[in-house]
Amino acid sequence: MDPVATVTGHAIPLPRADVDTDQIIPARHLKRIERTGYGEFAFEYWRKNDPDFVVNRPEYQDAPILLAGPNFGCGSSREHAVWALQQMGLRAVVGTSFADIFRNNSAKMGLLLAPLEPADVGYLMQRAQDTPDAQITVDLPTQSVSIPGGWRRSFEIDPFVKHCLLNGLDDIGLTLQHEDAIAAFEAQRPALLPRTKR
């Protein structure tokens, strides 16, 4: 994964609660065996059925930031949801809360999630609706979301996730540094535990 540090740009306001992974990328588009080719299907149903849907509007094209409601990314474990968001051009999501698996997947893929208080997300949503090209900066080193003129809020992120994002680390490589511990664990696993092949 590429390192992530700071994302600056305008933002797409999506003030809906519980946006699930079936909305972010419908199941019928999960048939590819590659990690690419999902961007055009992000939010497909809403994009197709509502010409005014925010993602369709020209003023929000190429926005690198999404403003999301509570429990964003709930539902399935499909990492394709993160791939689809990234491939439609997003690099950060600012929202009030995120579903657990979606949050993990985002961390692995380098999609920066910044949780803020509902009122602060509401303020940014309103601003992005009123002024579609209004700029927002999501800064990982300082763990802050800010706008020109001084408004600035901090967000929390797991320190290890932050470390991996900033350095673009592949955590399989990190885990393999503990090969000895894994082997030692395996050596004492009870033999009666099931095996899928004998």
């Binding site: 699930d20 999960l30 990690r35 579903a99 997947n105 399989i172 885990t175």
Partner: protein, 467 residues
């Protein structure tokens, strides 16, 4: 050692490495895999010259894409075919055992683990699928992971995980007639909300939970993710042991006694602390029907479609209004007056033999209503065979149901079994998200007997009035 919960005991027993301000590194006992979330992970291994570390703790089956008819022919969708072919090739290359499409043991990944006795108490189990929580019914710590994590487990048989908070959901009393496990979990989600369990592992406890069967417990744990928690578990007991015993991968002989002795130590210690506790009165659980587009939006079958204006919270009001617009429903409409086009009995929530028996008991001697297309999709080839042996398949077919081969099918509409735009379906699956069963399709989640009764009547029925 301070008192610990069941989940904490399993966690501690699988700790490979712990380090300040890092997630814990956990060992994974069983990795289930299927065609949709694995191809890119296998590719990642190939790209980095890595192997699957423990093929003997890994098993694959194609389930999400597979057609439920004409399985010996090429799939109608070449992309689905390609994905299943890729799984087959990857399993061969990486030495992973697979229950392939024509294998009698093929089925939904969360049905086959327990069926084969691979799912056992005290284990850590993962799968690139959010309904991995199903396996928690055995007192295993089981959760869904994304494709990058699938690759991680392939390569290392471990997973770095942040510690979870502990939540207790206790269901007290005794279940009334026609209150099924599906109604229990729909009631729980209705109470805690779709985000209520985020960051937590849920332990289901109480007399109602103790008294239901393993398959019922699986239904409850299955939908844990619909309440936002990744894992839900139930302490193993005699019911659990009896279910596991004698299955192909269950311990046998002296190993069996040793295993049971271990499993008995897993229960939550008296005095263990939970971060969140919810108590639900089981005597009040009624047959539920979802009306909206999240699994929390449900009411008892004798109820009405709610009026969004009655919601205090503006966000909830807007969410409800959006859901009703999508579902094309009017506030005040009686649930029993909602007409249906389709009925789907299946999915990892409700496709096991007890589910099919419960649905069949309602169907016996009756016929599917004119204008309704109803389908039964067993959870595995073995469930299908058993249902055929018990005469359930004939009973469904005679009543006008379609009887299909095993797979996920219309739960998520990756295969040809989908709703047409505007069609309304009573479904025993777990998600009523917009378009989940097909673009523009409208889903109502119910229990198997409720789905069967709806198929016969062409609309929802209060089972208590039917019998």
């Amino acid at each position: 050692m301070p008192p610990r919960t069941l989940a904490q005991k399993i966690w501690d027993a699988h700790l490979v490495h712990r380090e300040e301000s890092r997630p814990d590194l956990l060992y994974i006992d069983l990795h289930l895999t299927h065609e949709v979330t694995s191809a890119q992970a296998f590719d990642g291994l190939r790209l980095n010259g890595r192997r699957v570390r423990r093929p003997d703790l890994t098993i694959a089956t194609p389930d999400h894409n597979v057609p439920t008819v004409d399985r010996d022919k090429p799939f109608p969708d070449p992309l689905s075919q390609q994905q299943v072919d890729a799984l087959r090739v990857n399993c061969a290359e990486f030495d992973v055992p697979i229950f392939d499409v024509l294998d009698a043991r093929q089925g939904i990944v969360h049905v086959i683990g327990p069926e084969q006795g691979l799912t056992q108490p005290g284990m850590t189990i993962v799968c690139g699928d959010s309904h991995t929580s199903t396996h928690g019914a055995f007192g295993a710590l089981a959760f869904g992971i994304g494709t990058s994590e699938v690759e991680h487990v392939f390569a290392t048989q471990t997973l770095p995980q942040r510690r979870l908070k502990q939540m207790s959901v206790e269901v007290t009393g005794q279940l009334p007639p026609w209150g099924t496990p599906k109604d229990i979990i729909l009631t729980i989600i209705n109470r805690i909300g779709v985000g209520g369990g985020v960051g937590h592992v849920i332990e289901y406890r109480g007399d109602v939970i103790r008294n239901i069967s393993m398959e019922g417990r699986m239904t409850i744990c299955n939908m844990t993710i619909e309440g936002g928690a990744r894992a839900g578990l139930i302490a193993p007991d005699e019911t659990t042991f009896a279910y596991v015993k004698g299955r192909p991968h269950a311990p046998a002989g002296d190993d069996w006694d040793a295993a049971v002795a271990r499993w008995r130590t897993l229960a939550t210690d008296p005095g263990a602390a939970f971060d969140k506790e919810v108590v639900i009165d089981g005597t009040e659980i009624e047959p539920h029907v979802t009306w909206g587009t999240t699994p929390a939006q449900s009411v008892p079958v004798h109820g009405d479609i709610p009026d969004p204006d009655a919601f205090d919270d503006p966000a909830a009001r807007e969410t409800a209004q959006r859901a009703l617009d999508y579902q094309r429903l009017q506030p005040g409409t009686k649930i029993t007056e909602i007409p249906l086009d389709r009925v789907f009995i299946g999915s990892c929530t409700n496709s096991r033999i007890e589910d099919l028996r419960a649905a069949a008991a309602v169907v016996r001697g009756r016929r599917v209503a004119d204008g309704v297309r109803a389908m039964v999709v067993p959870g595995s080839g073995l469930v299908k065979a058993q249902a055929e042996e018990e005469g359930l398949a004939d009973l469904f077919r005679d009543a006008g149901f379609e009887w299909r081969e095993a797979g996920c099918s219309m739960c998520l509409g990756m295969n040809p079994d989908i709703l047409q735009p505007g069609e309304r379906c009573a479904s025993t699956s777990n998600r009523n998200f917009e378009g989940r069963q097909g673009p523009g399709g409208r889903t109502h989640l119910v229990s198997p007997p409720m789905a069967a009764a709806a198929a016969l009547a062409g609309h929802f029925v209060d089972l208590r009035e039917l019998f």
